[in-house]
Symmetry: C2
Subunit: 637 residues, 2 copies
């Protein structure tokens, strides 16, 4: 089918366009030509093709006309202003592309893309600009490297994908009945192992594929053994955001033979790679069952397709995907699926901070069309009230001041991604205001540094006010020298043994392992110290137990022996920094979403919270609601 499409497309272009190849790569049409100047002179040509095929079009030069790489590099360096701070130039002859990494991508692109346009005209290579993170990020480097160095493999993958999702006009009219349904494979009436299978009469799409890291059993995985789940017929995978309860088992799919694409924002792609690598490493270190290897993570990267908020992409012949801001963490998305030609429209919120936060803008609530809304319910219970952020901030500042006064240590267990950066930004502002930079240090231990680095690679996903500071005031809060990285056991002990007041942010966020537990072991018995929880503590975790007031905990020491630690330090829970909307905000979101959906399905919350939110939304807005159980299937159309 794709073959006939190429013939057709070539036949439509004038001979002067000199098209040597035209193919679908992913959901784009890629056209190779020996006369790019002809297209430049006839801008309507591309516009016509776009409107006809409803696909984005990449115009690339035939290899024979590409400038020699040394010369091209010279032109690039001459044309792009020094201030752009180019850090790398990578040529990908397999696809006639050149990647330009720079600290200020805007200056590479130029006003309305003028510089880039001029550059392409000169060197013929299609330039592609990536931001160099302000804090060097090993992960972003690795991810991009995997994508660049496997250019040929990747081209083939995109091409095969393109064949599966031909332009709409070529899809034959199906005579059979059309239907849409969703199956709860995990994360329904519970938090953890989120996975939703969306099936239509012709497509199979998995949205999220998480693992419940709080428990160790077969029940920490989604129901992969559900009879309707078949990895061999899966067309596409979508990830809402990087947290492991949504992305943790993506590489596992590749391990078991999945060969299709995984769609997410670029920020999610990099962050989930970070968390997945860490997940496997911890499993190895703790001699737990290892779900997959680095090779599988790499496989996931190779098959990743990064799309930005609002970018409409055909992912199967009958499903069109658009991601929208969810306000939860960097790159977190709501997934909008448009099925068939107006057959059904679905939003799945993923994890949701509807009202936004310091770091992220409020979640999107305006959609073109919407019939079914699947929304999270982490704090969907009647009693789930979060105090205003201001209150929590005030209390945190009090604690910091008290700690400075008493030379105490404050431990904040955090997930590497999300609350960590939110709290960093808040404290950074406070420290600047109070001029604490020289009297107080904030230590980041266990991957928070790496996660923060990725935030500096994708500042366009941050809230407007932060973007404003970064882009226009050149003042990136994450770069404040008050933040120190703890990179070794030695440095960790120095922090613990120092007599100075310090604030430590360390993973894991629920004290299920990692440096935060180690700090706790050493800080717990000193009364003046502080343990501050800023995020959800899952049932069964050490965090939850300590939060509930257990005064003794048993932990393994360095020699593998069980040791009792008395919990004497101050314990404080600050709920105002949550990355989730509370009950009231969820209700407001459900009310505000436009157009109003016919049906709301509730997930991602304890049993009662799901039921309670579903019933409250039904009563308040008179729409059908339901809180499915795992393994249930709901027919949407």
């Amino acid at each position: 089918m794709a073959q006939s499409f190429l013939e057709e497309l070539k036949a439509e272009l004038p001979e002067d366009a000199d098209v040597t190849k035209a193919q679908l790569e992913g959901s784009r049409i890629v056209i190779y030509t020996k006369t790019p100047e002809y297209f430049a002179d006839h801008p309507d040509l591309i516009k016509k093709l776009v409107s006809r095929y409803k696909k984005r079009i990449d115009l690339r030069a035939h290899p024979s006309i590409l400038l020699e790489t040394a010369t091209a590099e010279k032109f690039i360096k001459e044309l792009i202003p020094k201030e752009a701070e180019i850090t790398d130039i990578i040529f990908m002859p397999e696809v006639s592309k050149v990647i330009i990494e720079a600290k200020k991508p805007g200056l590479v692109i130029g006003k309305s893309g003028k510089t880039l346009h001029e550059l392409k005209r000169l060197i013929k290579w299609a330039p592609h600009v990536e931001r160099t993170p302000s804090i060097p990020s090993q992960i972003t480097k690795v991810v991009r490297n995997v994508l660049y160095t496997n250019a040929e493999e990747r081209r083939k993958f995109l091409e095969s994908l393109g064949k599966k999702v031909p332009p709409k006009k070529l899809v034959e009219e199906e005579s059979g009945e059309k239907w849409v349904r969703v199956t709860a494979l995990g994360g329904f009436r519970e938090v953890g192992r989120s996975a939703i299978l969306v099936q239509t009469n012709e497509s199979q799409v998995l949205v999220d594929c998480g693992v419940n890291v709080a428990i160790e059993s077969v029940q920490s995985y989604p129901y992969f053994n559900a009879p309707e789940f078949d990895i061999n017929t899966l067309d596409a995978v979508i990830v809402t955001h990087a947290h492991l309860d949504h992305s943790g088992l993506i590489p596992y799919l590749y391990k078991y033979g999945y060969k299709g694409p995984v769609y997410s924002t670029p920020a999610t792609r990099d962050l989930m790679t970070l968390l997945q690598l860490d997940y496997v490493e911890i499993a190895q270190r703790e001699a737990k069952k290892i779900p997959y290897t680095q090779k599988d993570i790499e496989d996931a990267i190779k098959h990743s397709i990064a799309i930005d908020y609002g970018e409409v992409t055909d992912i199967t012949p009958d499903i069109r995907l658009t991601l929208y801001n969810a306000g939860h963490i960097l790159g977190s998305s709501q997934v909008h699926l448009h099925v068939g030609e107006g057959l059904h429209n679905l939003i799945y919120t993923g994890d949701l901070k509807a009202e936004g936060s310091r770091l992220f803008g409020p979640a999107e609530t305006e959609f073109m069309r919407l019939e079914t809304l699947i929304m999270e319910s982490t704090y969907g219970g009647k009693a789930d009230f979060q105090p205003p952020r201001g209150e929590s901030e005030k209390r945190l500042f009090e604690i910091i001041e008290e700690a400075i006064k008493t030379k105490a240590k404050v431990l904040i267990p955090v997930l590497a991604v999300g609350r960590a950066q939110e709290v960093m930004v808040i404290i950074e502002e406070f420290a600047r205001r109070k001029k604490l930079e020289n009297s107080f240090n904030i230590y980041l231990d266990g991957m928070i540094w790496d996660a923060t680095a990725i935030h500096t690679a994708y500042p366009e996903y941050l809230s407007e006010s932060i973007r404003q500071r970064i882009f226009h005031e050149d003042e990136n809060p994450f770069l404040n020298p008050i933040f120190k990285r703890v990179g070794s056991q030695k440095e960790r002990m120095e922090v613990i043994e120092s007599s100075e007041p310090v604030l430590i942010m360390a993973t894991s966020g629920m004290l299920t392992g990692g440096p935060s537990v180690e700090y706790l072991k050493h800080l717990a018995e000193t009364k003046k110290n502080w343990l501050v929880f800023v995020s959800y503590q899952g049932e069964g975790t050490l965090g939850r137990r300590v939060q509930k007031g257990w005064d003794k905990i048993t932990l393994e020491n360095e020699k593998g022996k069980q040791e009792v630690t008395e919990i004497k330090l101050h314990i404080e829970t600050l709920e105002g920094f949550s990355g989730h909307s509370d009950r009231e905000a969820l209700m407001r979101f459900a009310e505000k979403v436009s157009p109003r959906p016919d049906r709301v399905l509730v997930c991602h919350g304890d049993n009662n919270k799901c039921l309670d939110l579903a019933s409250s939304i039904h009563k308040a807005f008179n729409v059908d609601t339901y809180a499915p159980k795992n393994l249930e299937t709901i027919r949407l159309r």
Copy 2:
């Protein structure tokens, strides 16, 4: 696993028992011995095995000690009283069994099985008694023949089945999570194509597999393309009753590779064979798409396992099946599934006449355990009121008397199975009372005769009062000579052209084809004639249109030309003979069912009737109710 079981079982028996073979066949344990007398002398031996393995045990003789067939036959004829009217004796050496067909099986068996017991002692062959139908039934003969002549193949099938369902004590404790769910594959929020997939963490069972004969499109089949349906992993199929909307696609499963058992009552097995053969024949004749062939129907028979009401059978390692009377047609069953050791209990009513009728006793309402009830809703709407049967009977008698007076003809379109026999019994009683036998004839056309014959093969499935008449008064209503068979086009024309008043019962029941349409064509334009509907007329059928009052219909004549027929005859609908409970009776059934289920799922009714009944049951009895849509999956446990 089965191997070790045999060793174990043999090891448990004393050497004198001389067991040469012991194996599982289906859900029975079959033991071959050279010394059956040893078991006879030690009756506790078998009892002990039964209570230990929770399986029925068939004791059979080693071939070496079987009496020569000629001698055995002589003994049988000598020992069994003449009055038993033996019609056939079939030896099955592959399984050391002898089938004795007789018109009075009770006399073969003897009081408390005494005669049979004595016979077995003499001939060593295990005797198995079948009733010879009073009206010769070609179908019952064919079905039984397929089973007898393929004894070896069948033994192997049962043996392979036995290996899959080992005795409970040998099933290893599963450590994984256990769950139960049902998926609506067809017949939900609609009537037709009934099919329910019951899945547990270890089993896949399909209950019913019907076709919607009223429409011709892909939507007449269940959703076999549902992602969770996999014919290759299906463990068992159960059929509630013989109507094609529940059994019509059973042979289709075998055509596409299903090799497992199909469970039903023996009456359902024979009746569905009749209807399936007819379905295929009509498709062939009308040059429609032929869903399967006679070979596939034969395949279904070969894999059939007939069980009686109340007979508990392990059908998979974690599902135990029991059938209960549903009161709807001959052999119609409610399906009770006991999953796991008390994990979940499910009743699916199939089609239900809760209060019973002339022909059948009221549906069972007492179950050992019950958590989920799936019930039909054909007449589940608020307005679905059926007049008392007495009223409809009275009106029918008036019509008959009027017809006799005016020498008119009465046409009753009926399904071959069900209403036909109910109405036959009613008219037969009326005719006897009024002594009409010589002045009035009742013609049966199109398979009604064959279906009635099968009723005479399984009188134990009839209501107590009819059984009483048949067994104790030797007065079988179906044998009344007032009933005449129409067997050819010539005979049909004779009936049509006769000047005598007659009553004609003819298929199809909804005027979708067959002789009833033919009769209508000839009788419709004569004003004094009658057309009497006694059953549900599906949306879109000719029956429904005529019932609604269309005064002209267009039909194809013998030469394939379209011809307009004016509808001038009297049209009457008598709803009191329905094989379905009306709204009130359904509510009473839901109330009476004991124990009260936690959840009621409603199916088999138009959209609004399903929703209405579900909501009414919820309000009345405060249990969870839901009317699933096709392709939805509900988690029961």
